[in-house]
Homo-oligomer: 368 residues x 2
């Protein structure tokens, strides 16, 4: 793995050279982690042609020996109390004779960049143009393996919940229980707050759990994703509570299921990134479900829960091999509830078996 | 309360006018909340001399009627899908004829400010200079009331935990249980991840709970804070597990207890913000505990867990009446553990009874 990080740093270095920059100052946590394997909050990575320097904040939790537990194989500098790591990295860049320094303008605030520039007076500053995010789109097999484990953890937690009594429990309690179970199964943490929506809250694309209790006859939508070694997947399932789902519930679930299958089947290397969304949306639209302001039905996942590529209806890019994405259409009927079904899959060519499904919990309309 | 927010917006308007700005663009979530009473993620507030406009992101969770649940008494604009609320607010400012717009340069990234500026070509941009943060330092009695409830919630959760069996449970489980109990008692959420450190992890200023299990004879440090209506307090306590604490444990606990008391007693309106920290540090230093890179023993609390004023040893400002702050010295002996005791108090004059203690759980060395 240390080699993998070195290779990534080398690719970023080539990108910088091609753009005329001597060095890169990487401050965005997911990008620092991608390039070093560690992501202490507030760390900055300076990458010049000749060397890499990881600047760590002063107040990291030490281990039992009093040492910082970030023993990655890179030269390190600990920021004295209160100093900003990006400022120290810029000072170092100036002392190394860097002439053109590319920074992450989508991460640095205006104030912070100004402070950084003041400490490196002879240096010209440019934008790194999300180069690390672009490198991160196609995953290597180490990354896919971590995503696979993250998906297994979420599947285990959800499977256990489905075996327990749900009626009478609140959305908030169910969400907390799922977070606890994911951690019990080895997750770093929940990759994002677990969403549980029941009754009229089911099927919402965004929902913060409330104190509403699960009732007989409810739809129940669960949206969760474990983070494992920094990598997060997303999945969502919708079930029905009680023995006999109503006819409208069966019908709506079947529709979203078919739409989600159409989206999954559109995941082919080289296809337009909009294709899965459009495939799902066409089926929903034909059934009369039109969103005024369409939310994309999918996005890339990795060190961020939501990263490139976007899979919205207007995307013009193409999907590459080994890009993990979510596919999660849904329909919400205000006042009644709805259905959302989401998976995380890795784009693979047909000769390798097609898209690899990571989140394998059944998508049937279980009656719980 | 609606009046309180209007008064705050008026004060900010006066600050802007005094600095030559026509209008302010507020993007930092805690600041938007302070000025409007609501804080949907990604909202932007535009405040001109004549009007206020709240720009809300498109993908907020709607309520059951399909409406956004942010019914504050302000003109609102919903951003069309994918549009940045700050960009829309800047367009609105330009259309209102704003000449000088103050933005939050410590919150906006370089890329975002550039995009905002491009949409308001005739407008001059300046910095709001953390004006809202300065307004937020001294709290009104509504805010103190919310902090008081937040403190009660944390005290209740901690009190219940102390009645349960602790030996054999992991730090992570205890931390999750405390978070759940705070939510059960009415917290919005944990204001920050609960920290539980046992054995050699106890007394650390920063500690992320691990799978270490509580053992007989351990020190156990718990650091927690509930968030209530957006307001968070902090408290930390250290206990000992089993019947008879060792002599070094009794001694270290007494020392930190005395240091923390000295810091609390230094909380007087008009005193230097460094005074509480220095009072505690002097006692610890006299007992031979010197930190190489001193971490401040306290800070302001409110809509952010850590906000102005800082109470570090080098602070030159003065403490005002009705400023809630934390006071939390500690000593950690690498490999052995340590003690940390933290309270949240509101600075009050002697004639009003002196500092008001919000976090009232006992600070004695309980043997659990």
């Amino acid at each position: 793995m240390a080699d993998a990080h070195a290779v990534r740093r080398e690719r970023l270095g080539e990108y910088c050279s091609a753009g005329g920059a001597d060095a890169a100052l990487v401050t965005k946590p997911a990008n620092v982690r991608y390039l070093t394997g560690c992501a202490p909050c507030g760390a900055t990575l300076l990458l010049t042609r000749e060397r890499a320097l990881l600047v760590l904040p002063a107040d990291l939790p030490p281990d039992d020996t009093g040492e910082h537990p970030y023993a990655v194989d890179l030269p390190q500098l600990a920021a004295p109390g209160g100093r900003d790591t990006a400022e120290l990295a810029a000072e170092a860049a100036a002392s190394y004779g860097v002439a053109d320094l590319a920074v992450e303008e989508h991460d640095l605030t205006v104030s912070r960049l100004r402070a950084v520039q003041a400490l490196a007076p002879g240096v010209r500053f440019g934008d790194l143009n999300r180069a690390v995010e672009q490198l991160r789109v196609v995953k290597d097999e180490h990354e896919v393996a971590d995503l696979r484990i993250a998906a297994e953890i979420g599947d285990q937690a959800l499977g256990e919940l489905l075996e327990s009594i749900l009626v009478g429990r609140t959305e908030r309690h169910l969400a907390m229980e799922l977070e606890r179970r994911m951690i019990d199964h080895g997750a770093d943490r929940a990759g994002f707050p677990v969403s549980v929506g029941t009754g009229s809250h089911s099927g919402r694309p965004v929902h913060r759990p409330t104190d509403r209790r699960v009732e007989e006859g409810d739809f129940l939508t669960v949206s969760l994703g474990a983070q494992y070694r920094g990598y997060t997947v997303c999945s969502a399932r919708t079930f029905v509570i009680g023995a006999a789902p109503a006819a409208w519930q069966v019908e709506l679930h079947r529709l979203v299921f078919e739409a989600q299958r159409a989206a999954r089947e559109a995941l082919v290397p080289g296809v337009l990134a909009a294709a899965p969304d459009l495939a799902a949306r066409e089926l929903l639209r034909a059934a009369g479900h039109v969103e005024q302001q369409p939310r994309p039905f999918g996005h890339g996942v990795g060190l961020e829960v939501r990263e490139a590529p976007q899979l919205g209806p207007g995307e013009m890019g193409k999907l590459d091999n080994r890009v993990p994405v979510t596919v999660g259409p849904g329909v919400h009927l205000p006042g009644r509830g709805g259905v959302r079904i989401e998976d995380t899959l890795v784009v693979r060519p047909a000769e390798a078996g097609g898209p690899e499904l990571l989140t394998i919990t059944t998508k049937e309309l279980l009656a719980l």
